[in-house]
Each structure stands twice: as structure tokens, then as C-alpha cells.
């Protein structure tokens, strides 16, 4: 029976407890909308139960984030949300203003660093989130976001560099850093 095979890896409940909130947050950032995120994540877990859990019982993270991302992007596509649709935009554009989602709810609560992160291009924010919120490896992130590990490396490097800069501009405690050849 299929259901017995699930028992070889973590149980559904364990996987659910571990990933529910991170996936919700991840999807909410892509769709810009918590309600949509709930639907996407729910669908992800249903699919996970249906077949994902059977094949990837040992390492569900990559699978879950991939399916969740596809679902979230699909929502964006269907609803013609602007962000995440235009590849060029995602890669390069820095947002002058944080998204309204962030603006509304995070202004007071979020830390200084988080507000800087909110101004990075969406794609960089996404890899940062996968890396530092979900502790995924470059390899896993590359699989999830359908790109190369090198590109993930570049995105994270660029994002951190920008964070350092912004941080430095406003925080005197931070040691300045000037790139040069060694």
C-alpha cells in the first residue's frame, strides 16, 4: 500500500509542521497575498500527499519549494501580477519602494536589514529567503528556481553586496569594504 511507504521517511505531519509556515511565507512573497499563498501551499501539500511524499520522502524541501513556487508563479501569471512575470524586471530592477504588502505591515515591526532586503530585486530576495530563511543549499535553490548554482551564487553575492552597501551607508558601526584585486 502506498500509504505505508510514507512511513519510511518523515510522516506527513512532521513534514507539514516543518514546512507549512516557511512555505506560506515564501508563497506570500511571490504572490504578494497571504490568501493566495494559503491556497498555493494547501495545493502543494495535497500534491505532496498524492505523489511527492512517495518519491521524495527523504528530502522533501526541494520538492515542496519547487511545487510551491510553480503554484505561486502560476497565480501571478493568471492574475497578471506584475512582479515575477517579466524576467528582466526580476533580475535587474531594484524597487524604489517596498511592495505595499511590506509597506503596510512591516514598517514598524521589521528590522532595519529586512527593510533593505525589501528593496532588492524580487529574484534576489527570493534566493536570500531560500538560503537564509530555509537554509537550503545553492544546489537546492538552483533546482527550485530553475537556474544554475553559479547563477544562485551570483544572485546571493550581489544581494549581500548591496546589503553591505546600504547597511554601511546608514550604519557607522559596519566596517567599510572596498572591492579590489588581491
Amino acid at each position: 500500500m502506498r500509504s505505508e511507504r510514507i512511513k519510511e521517511g518523515p510522516t506527513f505531519e512532521e513534514v507539514f509542521e516543518r514546512f507549512e509556515i516557511p512555505l506560506l511565507q515564501y508563497a506570500a512573497r511571490i504572490t504578494g497575498d497571504r490568501e493566495r499563498a494559503k491556497d498555493v501551499v494547501q495545493e502543494t501539500f495535497i500534491k505532496f500527499q498524492r505523489n511527492g511524499a512517495l518519491d521524495r520522502a527523504d528530502e522533501p524541501a526541494t520538492w515542496l519549494f519547487t511545487v510551491c513556487r510553480n503554484g505561486a508563479l502560476n497565480v501571478c501569471r493568471k492574475e497578471r501580477r506584475m512582479m515575477y512575470l517579466d524576467e528582466e524586471l526580476i533580475e535587474s530592477r531594484e524597487r524604489e519602494q517596498p511592495m505595499p504588502f511590506e509597506r503596510l505591515e512591516e514598517e514598524e515591526a521589521a528590522g532595519f536589514l529586512m527593510r533593505i532586503i525589501g528593496t532588492l530585486p524580487p529574484r534576489q530576495q527570493e534566493v536570500l529567503r531560500l538560503k537564509f530563511q530555509n537554509d537550503l543549499s545553492y544546489r537546492q535553490i538552483a533546482d527550485i528556481t530553475k537556474t544554475s548554482t553559479n547563477n544562485v551564487g551570483v544572485l546571493i553575492h550581489t544581494a549581500l553586496k548591496k546589503l553591505r552597501q546600504r547597511y554601511r551607508e546608514t550604519s557607522k558601526d559596519f566596517v567599510p569594504f572596498n572591492p579590489k584585486t588581491i
Partner: protein, 690 residues
């Protein structure tokens, strides 16, 4: 190596494999600079990690607030996993309180996995949901009694489940494949559309298009020719919407002919103002009727019914209480959407005085009050609030509508203009926002005496049908803004027409004299048809007319004895066996020369009881060539619309003929709109050849 290298960052984050890791490690060991960089990156990474962890903690309550139940539910079902538990769940009111199509889908999908194959049919008796958009789940608010789910377990259930599932599932989740509507979504959408249609008694049954298309146009089944003996009465609601014309214009200017169902002939005709005389008898509007030969079918007659609303000078306009309800969701970002709306609103604000009040409500992921009700002399304050609006997030139209109407009610001016002005691309997609609910919400709010204007913007996902229905049910008008010029026409030049309603629930009933008229066809107004008994029923909602507005309706009439072309012939019906034909023959025996009688009913803007106006018309056999210029122009627009629709009733008309009639009917054309029309016909003509 360059210190500004992603490899160094990767090293700092321990992301390198051997031998790369060792190589970089040696470089770092030798360079204090690189060592410092690595330390900094690690420090930064730690800080970022902490921030992300804090964010998760902070967001968690909001993230799981309602969703949890759905998951619990899915999990609970997995544990039990048989059909009986489904029945139990169905009886549980909790389930229905949170049930969404997806949750239902989850049960079905799981059920299918367990049992191999499941067939299902969902019967929604009273489900009010958005029309077939296939955009993921829409919450269904329904009581247990409203929904019945039936499941049948077919014989194949005995076959090995592992071999069959999941590829052979008869129903799939909405698959991520872009542009496709999952079969479950589709069947739900169909059920929704049908439920909605059943309630719309004026309209024929329409199925949602199977093709995925986010710009939603309802099918229009054109009015047929009707036999004047069998159907002597033709009843419809007036319509002052103009959106279809500007939408059609946008298509043509972008180099393509519009989809057929985007063309609503009556809205095209009514886009133009005609020079009808004002009422002189103290009534809110004047009625003009005339008949000429029909230019595209010369043996037929073309009857025009023209209404002219009383003009109200700008300075005579009563005080206004306006609430702008602006969609600031992500889809409103492009320049021709929110930025255009803001420009349009600025134009309007410039015209306001200290007697007017303006509030701004925005809606997106959250709805909110961007400007409390402010008098029109505080222009800077209003303009600043407009300026600060930005697009982003998703749309919860319903909440915004609730809030806007509440503010309109709080600031209600008795005897003044009380109006919500909704500007959106119509993409209502979050919360309780299925189309049926929205329409009911608006209908409910309209009873408070607050009128509605809908300004549509945007192109690829314009929810044309939703917006038309909202305006229709909300005692309002609907205009499509494709340019700042159009915004200026709607909000400045015709400001009073847009804002000041002088009569509401205006209905027209035409009685044809079968002694003179063999058959007739109402051109356009397909979405405005009423039943003949609705005419005298004051509970039945109909269109509004604004100050100075003109409304025009055209009939193509086949006189008795005229040769008919095949399209105009009414298929004969066998004589009735049990009912006598007395009534119709007696009607025929009247010796009246009158061709028809036009009756109108309307209510005062704040009234509940209708008043009746009647006008009998005798055909004086006038020719089109000698007819009024306005009639020629209206005929040109009507024929243009029919050609664009590729209507079977377009007769002998061609683009060239349309141009000719429009030239003859151009008149003084103070605003240049008719010249614009002529230009548009030329473009369409060129497109149709290309």
C-alpha cells in the same frame, strides 16, 4: 582573484565543493583582505538569518490564521480515507463554513487516489461565484443545503489503484500549465456560470468560453426579428454606458479588430451625443421618435427613439458627495491603468467646489481609506492623496466596496449627488469576491440612494462583463477609459451627465401595430431586454439617465407587405389548435395608421414609484437620404457595430457605406468625436482588408 567574486561569498557560506573549497581557502588564508571579507559575509549572513527567522515568527499568526483548518481537514481525511467519512464531513457545519472548492477538490483527489477512479458531479443550487475565469479557488460561501456533492464509485474501482492513479484521475487539480483551466475548475466555473445565468432572467443561456481568456466578454446573442402579431410588445431598459465604443476603439487603434462580443451596438450608438431638443414640459427628459427608410435594407424602416435628459448647468449642480473607490492592486501598475485613473481624477477634482465632498478609498490586499471625506476647496489635500497612491498587491473588491458605500452613506447629502466612482481593471480576485456576490452586494448598496459610476481601464484582462453588471445593478453608468481624452469626456465635459442622475429605472416599451408592421428587430440592447410584464413592475431595476444625456435606440422594422430578405423573415409557426387567434386578429382589424406607440416609465432619482410617458408614432414614409443628420450618424454607428460583429442582420452595409453615412451625419461635431469615428471606420476598413 578578485575579491568581488561570488566564489568568495560561496566560500564564506560554505557552499563550495572540493577541490574549489581548498583552493579558495588557501587564497583566504594568505589575504587578510579576503579574510575580512569572508568574516563580514558570515556576520552579515548571520544577521540576515536572524532577520528572516524573526520575520517568520512575526508573520506566522497571520499566515496560518484561517488556512490551518483546511490543512487539518485534509490531514484528517487522509487518516480515515473512505467514503463514509466524507458523508460525515458533509454533515459537519464546520466543514461548510470553511469549505472552498479546493478543499472539495482535495477530498476528491484523495478519494480518487484511494479508490482508483471516482466520478463526480457537483450540483450547485445557489452558488454565487465568479464566471469561468479559472483563477484558482474562489471561496464559496454556501450553506449545507445549497450544495450537494454526489459521488459514484464505478466498477473500475476494483482495479489496482496504484496502477491507475494518479495519471488516470478523472479530475485534476488546477494544473500549473499556463493558460489551461483544470477540468475541475472548468466544471465548477460552468456550474457557477449556469447558476448565475439562471438568475438573470433577461438573458439567454450563455456558456463560458472554453478558451482561457482573461478578458471576459459575455456572449451576445443578437436580437432576432420578431413577428409583430405574436410579439407586439418590445420592452427594454435604457442604457447610457459607453464603454464598448472606447474599448472597440482601443482594439482598432492597436491594430486588430475587436472580438465580436466586445461590440455592444447600443453602447457604441450611445457613445455619441445627439442634438435632441430638451424637455419643455417639466419632465426630466424629452422623447423623440422618427422613422426613415433603412439604409442597409431599403425596403425596411429604421425607427429611432431618442431621449434627451434635462441639462443642468455646472453651477446649478447640487452639492456632491463623491467617494472614489480605486483599485490599487498589482495589475493596475501600467501607465494606462492607475496612472491614467489618477490623471482622470485630477481633472474631476479641479472642477469641484466647496459644496462638494470627496473621499478616496483604495483596495488591494487590504482596503483602506486614503482620504477621508474632504470638501472640494481643499484641492491640494485631495490631489496629494491621489498622488500618493501606488499600485501593488491583490484585489479585494468587496471590502473596498463596503467601505466606500459606508463613507458615502456617512456623508449622504439629501437631494444632492451621492456617488461612488469605482475605477478598476475589474480583476476582483480575493476574498468573498465571486461575481454573483459582488453584484448582490452592489445591488444591496444601490438601495441606499448612492449611485455608482464604473470606470474601466486596462487591456488584457479587462473584466468587461463584471463591470457592466456592477454598473447595471448599482444604478450606475460604465465608461471605459482608454485615454486621457476619454477621461476628460466622461468626467469633465459630461461631468453632470456622469454624476447627476435625473431619472432612474427608465424603461421603454414599444407596442407595434401589426396592421402596419410585419416584424421588427431591436438593434443592440441585448443585455437590457426586459419581460413585457416588467415594464409596469416598479420593483424591476432598469437604467439611469444623467443630466444632458442622450439615449438612442434603433429598430429595424419590416412594414406589412414589404419584401423580406431571409435574415428578416420570421419562421412561420403552426396555427394554435386550442387557443383561438382572436386577439391578434382583432388587433389587426384596428384601422389605426399608427405604426407604433412608445411608452416610457421612469422614477425620480429618489422616488420609488414610476411615472408613465406615451408617444404614438405614424410613419410618414420619410427617406433616409432626407433624414436628420443625427439619425444618419446613429445608423452609421449601428451598421459599423453590426459589421464588426459580422451580424447576419448587417444587410447590404459595408465599411464604405458606413463612411458615407457618417460623413453625411457628421453635423457640426463640436468635440470632434464624429470625426474620430470616421477615422476609426477607415482603420477598421484597412484592417479588414489586411
Amino acid at each position: 582573484m578578485n575579491i568581488d567574486d561570488s566564489k568568495l561569498t560561496a566560500f564564506a557560506l560554505d557552499e563550495l565543493d572540493e577541490p574549489e573549497r581548498s583552493a579558495i581557502a588557501r587564497v583566504v588564508a594568505e589575504s587578510p583582505e579576503a579574510q575580512r571579507f569572508v568574516d563580514e559575509i558570515r556576520e552579515l549572513a548571520g544577521a540576515v538569518k536572524n532577520e528572516f527567522a524573526a520575520e517568520l515568527e512575526r508573520e506566522a499568526p497571520a499566515l496560518v490564521s484561517q488556512g490551518k483548518h483546511a490543512f487539518e481537514f485534509a490531514r484528517g481525511f487522509r487518516r480515515t480515507g473512505d467514503c463514509r467519512s466524507l458523508i460525515d464531513i458533509r454533515d459537519d457545519p464546520w466543514f461548510w463554513s470553511i469549505a472552498r472548492p479546493l478543499a472539495i477538490a482535495a477530498v476528491l483527489a484523495l478519494l480518487a487516489v484511494v479508490s482508483g477512479v471516482a466520478l463526480f458531479s457537483l450540483r450547485h443550487e445557489n452558488v454565487r461565484v465568479a464566471q469561468g475565469e479559472g483563477i484558482g479557488p474562489v471561496p464559496v460561501r454556501s450553506k449545507p443545503a445549497d450544495v450537494q456533492a454526489e459521488f459514484q464509485m464505478p466498477v473500475e474501482a476494483a482495479a489496482s489503484p496504484a496502477a491507475k492513479a494518479p495519471s488516470s484521475l478523472p479530475l485534476k487539480m488546477a494544473e500549473p500549465a499556463a493558460g489551461k483551466v483544470g477540468s475541475l475548475n472548468y466544471s465548477l466555473a460552468q456550474a457557477r456560470a449556469e447558476a448565475l445565468d439562471r438568475e438573470e432572467r433577461f438573458r439567454g443561456i450563455r456558456q463560458p468560453s472554453a478558451e482561457f481568456n482573461t478578458a471576459a466578454y459575455d456572449d451576445i446573442v443578437e436580437n432576432r426579428f420578431l413577428d409583430a402579431k405574436d410579439n407586439p410588445l418590445s420592452t427594454f431598459s435604457i442604457d447610457v454606458d459607453t464603454a464598448s465604443y472606447s474599448n472597440v476603439r482601443r482594439f482598432i487603434n492597436e491594430g486588430s479588430l475587436p472580438p465580436r462580443d466586445a461590440v455592444r451596438v447600443e453602447e457604441m450608438i450611445n457613445y455619441f451625443t445627439y442634438d435632441y431638443a430638451q424637455p419643455s414640459d417639466g419632465k426630466p427628459f424629452a422623447v423623440h421618435v422618427d422613422a426613415v427608410s433603412c439604409p442597409w435594407e431599403t425596403s425596411h424602416r429604421l425607427v429611432r427613439i431618442g431621449l434627451k435628459g434635462k441639462e443642468i448647468a455646472t453651477d446649478k449642480r447640487g452639492p456632491s458627495n463623491l467617494v472614489f473607490l480605486l483599485d490599487v492592486s498589482g495589475s493596475m501598475t501600467p501607465p494606462e491603468r492607475l496612472p491614467l485613473v489618477k490623471q482622470a481624477m485630477r481633472l474631476l477634482v479641479e472642477k469641484l467646489t466647496e459644496n462638494d465632498r470627496v473621499a478616496i478609498v483604495v483596495y488591494a490586499g487590504a482596503s483602506g481609506l486614503a482620504l477621508p471625506s474632504t470638501t472640494g476647496d481643499h484641492k491640494e489635500q485631495i490631489l496629494e492623496a491621489l498622488e500618493n497612491l501606488q499600485a501593488g498587491g491583490s484585489t479585494n473588491g468587496a471590502e473596498g466596496i463596503q467601505l466606500a458605500y459606508k463613507i458615502a452613506a456617512d456623508n449622504f447629502i439629501k437631494g444632492g449627488v451621492n456617488r461612488v466612482i469605482l475605477a478598476t481593471d475589474g480583476d476582483f480576485n480575493v476574498g468573498v469576491t465571486n461575481q454573483g456576490d459582488l453584484i448582490r452586494l452592489i445591488e444591496e448598496k444601490a438601495k441606499s440612494g448612492v449611485f455608482l459610476s464604473v470606470l474601466g481601464v486596462g487591456t488584457d484582462n479587462l473584466k468587461d462583463s463584471t463591470m457592466q453588471k456592477l454598473a447595471d445593478k448599482g444604478n450606475g453608468n460604465y465608461a471605459y477609459l482608454d485615454s486621457l481624452d476619454e477621461a476628460s469626456k466622461v468626467l469633465v465635459q459630461q461631468m453632470n451627465g456622469t454624476l447627476v442622475t435625473i431619472a432612474k429605472d427608465v424603461k421603454i416599451q414599444v407596442e407595434f401595430n401589426p396592421a402596419r408592421v410585419a416584424s421588427y428587430r431591436l438593434i443592440g440592447y441585448e443585455k437590457r431586454l426586459l419581460r413585457k410584464e416588467d415594464f409596469n413592475n416598479d420593483k424591476v431595476d432598469a437604467g439611469e439617465i444623467g443630466a444632458g444625456h442622450t439615449v438612442t435606440a434603433l429598430y429595424e422594422v419590416v412594414p406589412v407587405g414589404a419584401a423580406t430578405n431571409p435574415a428578416a423573415s420570421v419562421p412561420p409557426v403552426d396555427p394554435l389548435k386550442y387557443s383561438s387567434n382572436e386577439r391578434s386578429t382583432s388587433a389587426q382589424s384596428t384601422s389605426s395608421n399608427e405604426m407604433l406607440t412608445v411608452k416610457l416609465r421612469y422614477k425620480k432619482p429618489d422616488g420609488d414609484n414610476s411615472e408613465l410617458v406615451e408617444r404614438a408614432v405614424t410613419d410618414t414614409a420619410g427617406k433616409f437620404e432626407d433624414g436628420p443628420v443625427d439619425l444618419k450618424f446613429a445608423a452609421a454607428v449601428a451598421e459599423f457595430g453590426m459589421i464588426l460583429r459580422d451580424s447576419e442582420y448587417k444587410g447590404n452595409g459595408t465599411f464604405a457605406a458606413v463612411l458615407e453615412w457618417a460623413q453625411e451625419g457628421k453635423g457640426s461635431d463640436a468635440n470632434g468625436y464624429r470625426a474620430g469615428f470616421i477615422e476609426l471606420v477607415r482603420k477598421a476598413q484597412a484592417l479588414s482588408k489586411g
